[in-house]
Symmetry: D5
Subunit: 153 residues, 10 copies
């Protein structure tokens, strides 16, 4: 993984304070996935969000400005995974899902919505732990993207 | 896309009968996404499922055997998308989601479950149309995979 | 280039009738670029648009249904250029523009709009011939895409 | 992104002085896009342009020579985006536009101009913010390149 | 190979103490292959396993914490081999086995088990030295993975 | 997959006679994996082995010569999997095993044998079904290759 | 090489009439290299040039129209070499020249002309045979491209 | 570009002394292109050539030995351009010339010389500025390589 | 492998007449390796060599012309191996030799000859079977290429 | 090239003592090619060989241990050439030989030996200078690898 110094600093602070992304998310009022995306340099935050984040992480006042400059900026996204297809087995399963179920999803979306796409920008993502069954735990992932119809002109 | 003659025959029958994947799924008792995966050669069906599918699609008795041979076999999966990253904008958004939110998802999953992966085999996927808001339609995708912890030995 | 039989049939009819994309566009009430995109399998048309297109191209009634089935469907987009970077010098210049001016454009867009993207779906594109100068002709390309701000959740 | 120390120094000065590319462009008498291209190492400047740029950015006299040496030189262009297709969603949309609308643009250009290309060297590019509609902002991009006909010999 | 400082430190300690992976494995109560995977950053260990490992390797108390932080974390797996196919002849033979015997193995597994896969997560691997024959030594590799049947839904 | 007509003919005969690779292997006196490799064009057979194979598959005398010509020849091996890393999830797990456990295996082999490789030519491979546990089936793969020490000269 | 039927037809006619590219070039009034480029689908010809070409090649009147349609069209250029770097040793030397002498040429061009490029569109290329030395023949290649200075705006 | 410290030192000396490659070439008695190739690490020089080069560049006696060691050695050639196809527009035009005119050149060379290649080792290259026309400057490139016929044995 | 119809025809004739490359080579007066290269489309033959080859292979007079046209032409070389690195284990060993011993060979050649290369055009290659040892057979490959010193100019 | 500090240290000592690989080889009792392979990190040496090598290179006693640790270890082989196909013209000729003569060699080897490969591990390689002809020097390369027949099981 291709991780910046800013990300390393924030992750270390998170580890030192023994915080989960869930706890940070609650403190800021944002989803844990979005918080992880922010810390990994895949999203940008408002000044207020920056302050709350740095406070709960216990970053000293004197060091906050340099963090805010990075967190506040529109980042160059998508560069975390330096090899593709990803070599990490967990990440590789998402690639496999796309290979196997990508075209079926495309067909179902067109059948339900017409010609267009699911936005990956006006988009939210949740990860949930399903422990309802005795002998298995399930990872549930909920994606929600605005449907964008193709414009004609 | 790299589509077999079997898939073409089934898609043509579906179009001639003006059926949706949803309707076929209900007739077979399976999800519309799984049905699309089956028709696109990404899953295998039991004899009973094959018969129900071919019946609702109106495939004549005489032609069913050759379809069943293919639908019943364990396919070579994942070859539908011949260029990668996918050039189709709808499919490309799933690639983008992986690039931007892949590592955040990995971290959240490890935080909630420990070292392991979400299975893409003991796995289900739903596509839903959310029309609850007046000014936008949303594509909701629900993935559910069994958590597989890494074995030590 | 990777061209389907449908595209070949429509291009041959266009050539036989000696029509420009501009003329076809006017007859249908759509931009010439969108018409070219439709004929090259990169867009989908309404039934009415299909009928107008096939009429002006002089496709006989008997052959129209098979054309409409393809033109009406949501296509698998983006597969025309089979080698990338494109080997054709005209297409290669667009690749070069992205390499040289891509990051500057990104920075300017963020400076003017904040964190988000220019949509390539809610999007229009025009090609104009500028002959205002005596000793040179210029190709002017006008792109217009909706700004999509990144959602936080 | 692959950014040199010169670029980093200029971007930091720009941030410290809280200047936009637009403001710098006006001070130098050049377009904001060209100024961004210059700062990102994709263009070369005259001595006069260098001086104006360094002055408005507040670079001290003593440090200017080393900046001028770089800004004045013909750079090795096009190396900013180190992964291709670009992983950043905003940049990726330009790639997508080329995949979907590239061949249609090629056909329209040939129809209007004959055999040749749009120059990417005798070329200008503008980014405009269209706020004429109440419920959407649009990114407008205007490219203008000299048409170069293929020479026969 | 792409080796972290943690891995280098552990390998140096192993060399200084003249320990084999087999000896370390016995001390910890784990297989030598799993121990090698752990040291090379491909697995994560419990606190107890970490302590035992660092003790047998003679890592001083004061340095243990930073090792434990890394060994305890769920790593980003699969990044050791930076060129693929691997250039190292020993590793390349595994690639060759996959090319030549991969599809035959797939067919045999489906014949014996039905549609599904061999897990690489609920998985163990042993390397044995077979010296039963006078004129040759053989490398025996024993892989065992849980069969995961494809879920239908 | 990239399958020749010879392979298709043999697979069809196998299916028509409802034979498993195991049954064919027993009839010929060879392992089922080697038989699958032969049928998939990854190995060459003696005249006697060819005759036995064609007999059990019920290939008529008149058609045997053209099969023997192919089965008897030293094939161009390794071309079955046309995309790499393999897109099929079952095959992809072998790739993943190499990424995660490849370097650990290399280190263990060197520790046990010294500098050299496991041959993939003087090599055997078995696939076994382990049903000894009530709640899981396991795929066991046993590879055995001659150790080849690096020659010095 | 990736050769169209049009190219094959023209090359066969050239061979049947035992003509060199040089002889064809003289008959048309164009360089032999341009003629070869035209026949290989890398250039477009005027109606008059088409007629002269087809006449000297002895293409019968009845077959000319279909040739003219292709020769007259602006082709999709650059797709002849399907593998890159080229596997053919003669072509590979041009790739090698670029690797070894490309940057030196770039520096010399900038030193002589300033920031800009040599056009490959307003461009001519000659191949000459130098037999002035007794013990060697030399291939001389003369390229001439218009210098295009980078526009500022 | 991938430039060594030796190259950087020589280029800096060249800039400090305000020398062109042409001037250095004259002083050494070699072509400016060869001199640029030498400085960029693509050629090796005799001791005498090294001394002349270092003298005209004003490298102090004490530093000359380390330069001579590098300039005198047979270098690993061809590694300057780290991305291929080259992203720099000037270099990219040479790639484009190969794509469009490579096969025509091959055919012309075979027609004039028979089966063989133009050497890129027994090879010279000149860059000339043609200002004979009022309204355009042209870059002329003259390559000359020994013809090497294919040996039969 | 990417084999033309000409090659297939010649190989079939060779098999039907039960000839080895060695026998054909003796009949023509050329090395067996060169003969194999010719038949696989990697070399060109004189008219006399063509006649001798077709005679010994028993190609009927009426079919010879079309073979001669191909065998006599300068072929597009190097396209036999369609995947690279080669998937075939025998071919892959040559790739491995280059990876492991390529740089050592380069250094030894420079040490013995100075700056230059071994020609692959003024080049011969032999394959010999060494059976001098009781318990092993060895493949001996003898390559001989003219040394080409780098020209200075 | 990707060269370790160990290799750099040994090459510098070799240059300082003005030794050829041939001289070192004689002193150690090994071939010059193997010595070069060892120094470039592609082979491993016995303790005695290490001592002899370090002695003739004049490495001081105090520094020998760290060299021995590396030279004695089984290295990760094949990583010297970081770009493939190799950009260096001398190395590239070996790649070209494989492309042009690889399949002919495969066929000749199978004709002489049957189904199997030439080992690249039980393998030796010599480079010789042939000066027997007045007007040319030739590079002769002699490879000898054990033939390994494919095992059946």
């Amino acid at each position: 993984m291709n991780i910046t110094e800013t990300t390393q600093g924030l992750l270390k602070a998170k580890q030192d304070k023994n915080l989960t992304f869930e706890a940070i998310g609650k403190a800021i009022g944002r989803s844990e996935v979005w918080v992880a995306a922010l810390i990994y340099g895949q999203a940008s935050a408002s000044s207020e969000e920056c302050q709350k984040l740095l406070e709960i992480l216990g970053i000293p006042e004197s060091a906050r400005d340099s963090y805010i400059q990075v967190l506040h900026k529109c980042p160059s996204k998508g560069g975390l995974i330096t090899h593709f297809p990803p070599t990490d087995p967990l990440l590789n399963r998402f690639y496999e899902i796309m290979l196997v179920y990508g075209v079926p999803m495309k067909e179902i979306i067109h059948e339900k919505f017409g010609d267009g796409i699911m936005s990956a920008v006006d988009f939210t993502l949740k990860v949930e732990k399903d422990e309802s069954k005795a002998d298995e735990k399930r990872v549930n992932i909920l994606m929600s993207g605005k449907f964008l119809p193709y414009k004609k002109w």
